[in-house]
Amino acid sequence: MVDDGTTAVPTTVKKFYEAGRRRLSLTLVAGESGLDRQIREPAINRPGLALAGFYRYFPAKRIQLVGHAESAYILSLPEDVRRSRIAKLFETRVPCVVYCRRRQPDADVRALAEKYSVPLLRTQMITGPFANAATILMDELTAPRVRVHATMMEVAGMGILIEGVPGIGKSETALGLIKRGYALVADDCTELRRSGDGSLVASAVPLTRFFMEMRGLGIIHVPSIFGAASVRGEKQVDLVVTLKRQADCADEIDRTGENVQYRTFLGVDIPQVVVPVAPGRDLVNFVETVAQEFCLRRSGQIAHVELDERIKRRNVQLVAAKR
């Protein structure tokens, strides 16, 4: 199987529980011994059919959610049937079971959770919103990730990933953009993750978040100097700006804007602009303009195409007039 960075990465019940404790108001009721169980699929399943005895196509690798309907159904069953149906669910070794709407799972269920080492969790949230929020959390936890040597910024509403060899001026460019009022996401080491909807989201490595190295000055903490609005937790990557020494660029520079190149990360193609770096060249103004131009292109207005149409129309008229 080709690893192009697009397949979901398994996570554990422990990670889901720790991330969801506050976000999803989760508590652990039983089955602590199973916290290291892997969750291989990010979707959430409501096991109504399984509880009714139908196990074909049962997604046993997913988190199982017991909500209002499931609870009511279980209670409607005669006691011996109830026990065997629930036991069967735990027997299939699902990663974990979550009870919603503050329903307290009874002693039988807790015992089964302990027996099969399947963590039993409880949430204060209502089933519907819980399923949505848990799916989003699982998408984040299982997203393929990679760290790249680049600085990530938000400029003119666009997510810009600035790449280049060490010392070429990524951090200095970022500083100039911060002073213009734009926001830093990560300096020098950016973590990219592929989101469930196929977009690429950039964030900083938590340990060094919002710290930046300025050669000559040293390490600075950006929000302390420039304020809370000078940084941002994460941002979708819209454009890659690759800084290259003038000498290394020769053929690659796009003179008209026609040949949009792409960089691919985790299977996602992102438009790329290669920028020549030379003394006297103002990178900050340039990157800002690049962001603004791509913002405009998104809304359909493409400068080189418009100019080209205008010239072609005029040239045709001139030739016709001469006749």
Partner: protein, 95 residues
């Protein structure tokens, strides 16, 4: 002359591992060489010339780093870096 790629494993021996001062010294020495330096740990690979990037490796005392150098002075770069790590970055309270 073709760029050679050389690799060497280095184990951090100093008490606090790859914190700011060692990262600064490592990056400084790496930057003196023209070869591209990459440091790999736990599947993450970062530029050895970047302090911030080195810190993200979260390397502690005992961590094994794989250091790769690519360029004309690859061997010299690795020797210098290995020596620095072996000397525990010359930090007095971490010897």
């Amino acid at each position: 002359m073709a760029d050679e790629v050389q690799e060497m494993e280095m184990t951090l021996l100093n008490k606090y591992g790859m914190h700011v001062r060692p990262a600064g010294l490592f990056a400084k020495i790496a930057s003196r060489h023209s070869s591209a330096i990459t440091v790999i740990k736990d599947g993450n690979s970062v530029s050895g010339k970047s302090i911030m990037a080195l810190l993200t490796l979260e390397a502690v005392c005992g961590s094994v780093l794989k250091v790769r150098a690519e360029g004309p002075d690859a061997e010299a770069a690795l020797q210098d870096l290995a020596a620095l790590v072996e000397r525990k970055f010359d930090l007095p309270d971490e010897q």
